[in-house]
């Protein structure tokens, strides 16, 4: 069932889909980045555009940056954010305002500087010969899938999107999905756009109707797991992006482990993208967001 693991070896990088082997070593760097824009895009969600030429030059879809938000004297861990889009010398981050760090992030203005570590983690990989991909996004899960949609389309791979969110306004990255995908099906909790309900409805339908060659999932872990099960049942290879609490972000502290069939792996370097088949859903996911 599913593609053998060794077939996951292309990275969806623009038109040139390069082959790079399974154990892609990421060489993150520490970059002083400047805020170019920081604006509200939906209730409690901001879009941060950073001038980060060195990170932008190499970041792949699915990778993330670790931002040092606080400029104060006090100690605060970095915060990890997927890169939603990279173009030229800038990277974009879609963030949900939740706690101390993201509240502070929301107050940053154009011209402010902070430092970022990145690119971090592995990215989404494309199975050899894939022609059609389904992207399933739940809430903020749209963030790392936006850049993937763009790159897949540029690489000539057909894209379908199933997207869910609490409300129409919170269907993020719509511009990228609309531009890249030949089909976007949405569901909202309140029915303000698309069908009423979870994204697992559209994803099941798209898997059945479109028979994609690969499914990419990012969202709340309970949703991710459900979609992974749908893909597995249909025998379609599936990759999932998982969130864990992260201290270092570079593989040193072991705070971010995910239990896999081959032992505990670090979400920050061995992930955040995992082959769904290898993930042991052990109940250690983060509590759902407010």
């Amino acid at each position: 069932m599913g593609a053998a693991r060794t077939e996951w070896f292309h990275r969806p990088r623009g038109g040139r889909v390069t082959c790079s082997g399974a154990d892609i070593a990421t060489h993150p760097l520490l970059e002083r980045v400047e805020v170019r824009r920081n604006e509200r895009v939906a209730e409690g969600v901001g879009l941060l555009v950073l001038h980060a030429p060195r990170i932008a030059a190499t970041i792949e879809p699915g990778q993330f940056v670790h931002l040092r938000i606080s400029t104060g004297a006090d100690f605060i861990l970095r915060r990890p954010f997927s890169v939603h889009r990279a173009s030229g010398e800038t990277i974009e981050v879609l963030y949900q305002v939740l706690g101390r760090g993201t509240r502070e992030l929301a107050t940053r203005e154009a011209g402010d500087v902070m430092d970022a570590v990145g690119p971090l983690g592995n990215g989404w990989r494309v199975p050899v010969g894939a022609a059609h991909a389904l992207l399933v996004a739940g809430g903020l899960g749209a963030a790392p899938l936006g850049m993937l949609a763009e790159r897949l389309a540029q690489g000539g791979i057909a894209v379908s999107v199933a997207q869910g969110a609490p409300t129409a306004e919170r269907l993020l990255a719509r511009d990228l999905f609309d531009a890249a995908a030949r089909r976007v099906v949405v569901a909202t909790d309140d029915g303000s756009a698309g069908e009423t309900g979870f994204v697992t409805g559209p994803s099941a339908r798209l898997i059945a109707e479109d028979r994609p060659d690969v499914v990419y999932v990012c969202g709340p872990e309970i949703m991710t797991r459900a979609v992974a099960a749908q893909a597995a049942a249909a025998g379609i290879p599936c990759q999932v992006s998982l969130e864990r609490l992260m201290a270092c972000g570079i593989g040193a502290c072991l705070s971010c482990v995910v239990t896999t069939t081959s032992g505990r792996k670090r979400a920050c370097v061995d992930g955040p993208v995992f082959d769904a088949e290898e993930v042991c859903w052990d109940g250690s996911e983060l509590p759902p967001r407010h």
């Binding site: 990275r11 760097l29 861990l77 970095r78 609490l245 201290a247 270092c248 570079i250 250690s284 509590p287």
Partner: protein, 321 residues
Amino acid sequence: MDRNSRPVTSAAGPAPGLGVDLAVEVAGLDLRNPVMTASGTFASGREFADFIDLSRLGALVTKGVSCEPWAGNDSPRIAETASGMLNSIGLQNPGVEAFCERDLAWLRGRDVPVIVNVSGHSVADYVAVVERLERETVVAAYEVNISCPNVDAGGMAFGTACAPAAEVTRAVRAVTRRPVIMKLSPNVTDIAEIARAVEAEGADAVSLINTLLGMAIDARTRRPKLARVVGGLSGPAIKPVALRMVWQVAHAVSVPVIGCGGIVTGEDAVEFLLAGATAVQVGTANFVDPTATMRVIDSIERYCARNGVACVRDLVGALEG
């Protein structure tokens, strides 16, 4: 994607060269400066090689290694707290054999003194790890962790009473001539007493503090923030406790003290030296800034230059009454 095509990282530059003598000697090891990494916050250094020049470190202390592979605790394993963090990693490690093959092999020839942090569930465990490591020439010294609050058997239990602390020291001492550094727990009534006990059994140095046992609760979910419920508190929050203990222990023993706990800046490090530490370890700060160790080294040097301190050793224990 070619590895070499990636841009070179912004590794902090070489020491500013202010003519300050930063060298210290700890437990027979000659270190180019007093700044080490704290175990468990730096893996075996590989992850930091993109950011800093490892050979500029005084010493590199590896993540704790045990005889057999340990899976560590369930997730979530960390929680941020006021000026600090809790961790309950639980000494996850691949076991000493894999450690030698992967980590020590990588460290060979890196031109940095390697101190291996050793864990065990029993005295025999500690001994077995050290015996295996004796075959590895790259190992400069052992730091024996009798203070990890995150494992059920062993760990901190050895570090919270004199007799077991002494027993581990004696057993390890018996199987190696390399320097043995005992890493002490702060979760005790009288840390000076434990320090004296391990000194009496031949410890060449003591390092302190490991993490304070703590807990965090999510009021919203009503659950502990760590899957293991309790974990070890580190970071700036614990610095006052660490400084006090270093000061107490430095007065209690004659072997060198390695100070650790909440060090983020060069000034923090200087405070530990003044309190009586011969060297310091930078831990949690590495997570926030992967170049933290370099910043600390450079800033100690600048402190010395600015204050007319020709030799960093002159700061050790130089607290004025």
